[in-house]
């Protein structure tokens, strides 16, 4: 998605100077995905394809409801179906169908943006949306290493990374994301992050009253919270929902690589080059005295003693 000029930019990949942020920034936004209300109709997937002009290849049925089977450069959201034995709640011990709409979580502290080496290829708007600015993408795949949720996909067509933009173009002009617009059960809701947290928590209380004692709001603190949140019936076991990470964080390897190592190593290289220059102007070069022959006419080495006389 091209950069939304009407939105303030809070963070910009590989950029060390101030980002454009003179506007009266709107409130941070969020999408709330209430898994307890999802019926797995995939209307959100269709709306995503329609609005973003995406058409995935026709795949192969492998015996599960997931279709397509994984996120791709063409499928920015995918319903992941999990058949589990309910660990608690009114369905305890019985088959429970947990359907999770997978896609970018729009982290407050985005690992993709931290890892990205291309200036401006990933931005985080002041409203919290993390967006890939494809024309600046160089296709290195560092965002994939940076992401704790396994979301970005590189296109085989243009070698650029793609993922859910939270319909930043729609949000910029005051509309809800396409998936939210189309959801028939109200499982998807969109608004300010504060409102969505409040609604999520209210829904969690409802679920608690209905026997889902472990229901909760998934807004993981390890990535600073997310601008896409889940209401989970079994929030104590996010892994039930097709391996949703329990405590997602940016990998410590990525933290080392794009955190402390980055300024430290760049500085050390600069100091080394400068040190060499200063060594030269203070100690000077090693020059060999060429005024005296090393060997005499007979080919014998002239000794140091001979030379010093």
């Amino acid at each position: 998605m091209p950069s939304m000029q009407s939105l303030d930019v809070q963070m910009r990949s590989a950029t060390t100077t101030a980002t454009p942020q003179v506007r009266i920034a709107g409130e941070p936004v969020a999408k709330l995905i209430d898994i307890s209300k999802c019926i797995g109709c995939k209307a959100c997937q269709v709306a995503c394809m329609q609005w973003n002009d995406l058409r995935d290849d026709i795949g192969t049925t492998v015996g599960v409801y997931d279709n397509p089977i994984d996120l791709t450069d063409q499928s920015w959201t995918v319903m992941r179906f999990a058949e589990v034995t309910a660990p608690d709640g009114p369905m305890a011990g019985q088959l429970e169908w947990l359907i999770r709409k997978d896609g970018c979580m729009h982290c407050e502290d985005p690992g993709c943006l931290k890892a990205c080496p291309a200036p401006g290829a990933i931005v985080k708007y002041a409203n919290g949306i993390v967006d890939f600015i494809s024309e600046n993408c160089i296709g290195c795949g560092y965002c994939i290493a940076g992401c704790p949720f396994n979301i970005p996909r590189i296109s085989k067509k243009d070698n650029k990374a793609y993922k859910c933009s939270l319909c930043s173009d729609r949000v910029a002009v005051g509309m809800a994301p396409a998936c939210v617009k189309t959801c028939p059960t109200g499982a998807l809701q969109f608004g300010s992050k504060t409102d969505m947290v409040a609604r999520g928590e209210k829904r969690v209380r409802d679920l608690n009253e209905r026997g889902y004692q472990k229901a909760g709001l998934y807004n993981p603190a390890g990535v600073g919270g997310t601008h896409v949140m889940y209401v989970l019936q079994h929030a104590d076991q996010p892994g039930l929902y097709n391996n949703l990470p329990t405590d997602p964080t940016i990998s410590p390897w990525v933290g080392l690589w794009k955190g402390i190592a980055k300024p430290l190593m760049a500085l050390t290289l600069g100091i080394a080059a400068l040190g060499a220059f200063f060594h030269y102007v203070t100690r000077g070069p090693k020059e060999v005295d060429e005024s005296v022959a090393a060997v005499d006419a007979d080919g014998r080495e002239v000794t140091r003693h001979d030379r010093e006389v």
């Binding site: 950029t15 080496p117 690589w257 290289l269 060594h279 070069p285 022959a293 060997v295």
Partner: protein, 221 residues
Amino acid sequence: MAIVMRSGEIRRYDANERLNHWAVALLFILLAASGLAFFHPAFWFLSALLGGGNWARILHPFLGVLMFVLFVIMAMRYWTDNKIQPYDREWSKRLPDFIENRDHDLPAIDKYNIGQKWVFWITVITMGLMIISGIVIWRPYFADAFAIDAIRIAAVVHAISAFILILAIIVHIYAGVFWVAGALRAMTRGTVSHNWARHHHPLWYRRMRGGRNVEQPPQNL
């Protein structure tokens, strides 16, 4: 008269060795420029050297493989000469003096001093780590075949190895081009003076003079 021999020179690197070294050196410049561009935004402008970010991303791994192959040939040439010897220990103790250009009475050494040997072995090790880690993070061809944590670790290994290698090469370039006068000629024209050889590498000098590596000055100039 000794004057005749004074202009005589000693062969240090033949044409093939020079060609090999400079091919690796030029590839190193392109790789360091593009690699640093990916590493820190302060170096992003260097990606222009390869035609911008996308071209840098496309070319970097191919150039890396080419450099590695050429480096392996080079490393095999100099492997034996870089083995650590007993006299290196004595020489190492004088390293502070060497840095201060107090070179008198340094222990006699062969073709390379311990600093050069360190550069050699650091280069061998980091090049090895970088070809392996580089393949793991190489998109779009190989990275998909590896687990995500392998890719993350490889990225760190690649960056730290590159950092150490670039530091070593900064020392190498400084010593070879600026610090040790007369050394650059060894790699550009292939020869050094008798005095240079005797001063810096006495054991090598004696070894060379025993052989046929002394180039006679042109007779008809």
